[in-house]
Symmetry: C2
Subunit: 126 residues, 2 copies
Amino acid sequence: MQRNTRQKSAVRAVLTSSHRPLTPQEILEGAQGDVPGLGIATVYRVLKGLLEEGEASAVELPGQAARYEMAHLGHHHHFQCRACDKVFEVSGCPGDLSRLAPAGFQMDGHEVVLYGRCASCVGTPS
Amino acid sequence: MQRNTRQKSAVRAVLTSSHRPLTPQEILEGAQGDVPGLGIATVYRVLKGLLEEGEASAVELPGQAARYEMAHLGHHHHFQCRACDKVFEVSGCPGDLSRLAPAGFQMDGHEVVLYGRCASCVGTPS
DNA sequence: ATAGATGCAAAGAGTTTGCATAGGT
DNA sequence: ACCTATGCAAACTCTTTGCATCTAT
């Protein structure tokens, strides 16, 4: 079974206190506040473990490094700010898109990413 | 200005004759049929040039290497097969999704990726 | 002839893995 | 005490860059 290490708790704490998905690098920096010697490899290993246990989920956006968040119930999407590049959660969903799939294809899921400016960056020049 | 080299023509030819977006590796393999000594660095450089000229466009899917296709008019999305991982074009679009953006956010675009099984892989066991 | 394009190899960025050691249990 | 998790560094993959050479114009 798995152990409860300070490293793992620190990663969990960082993810839990964030309101948006974080990159491994951001998680490393945040968790180093609790566990100074923490290495990036451990962050990746802990994340992998959390994913397998279903505690966290990966958020992979086009052309971006994967980000991670604590698992939420239900299906949701993300919004990426073009100014600050941060990613935020979006609760809605466009619904069933299977009408868009090509004929003969069997659709079983979809991902949607919205782009624009987050509340803090609206008005900021690009 | 830019020159018309055999390498560039070969890349263009491979992209044009494909009905789906290709990875740099697939492009390399395809184009080496025309230009045996072709190197991967040149493929990247040619792709970069084609993107700047607007001749090709990049298709970046979550957690995947970027793929490239000749530029098409208009907005479209993609379908990725979970069995063979190939990516196909989808002509439809769910329409305006700005209602999904969080309050105070300014949305200016979206990406949609459909997942499932392509016509050749329907029925194949996973 | 000239300047941009190519091919190779080395350099970067992000992620994973090997291995000896620290630390949960 | 045992055995997993850690930290470091090396390995890997994908992409970019430096540089001498080639080639389209």
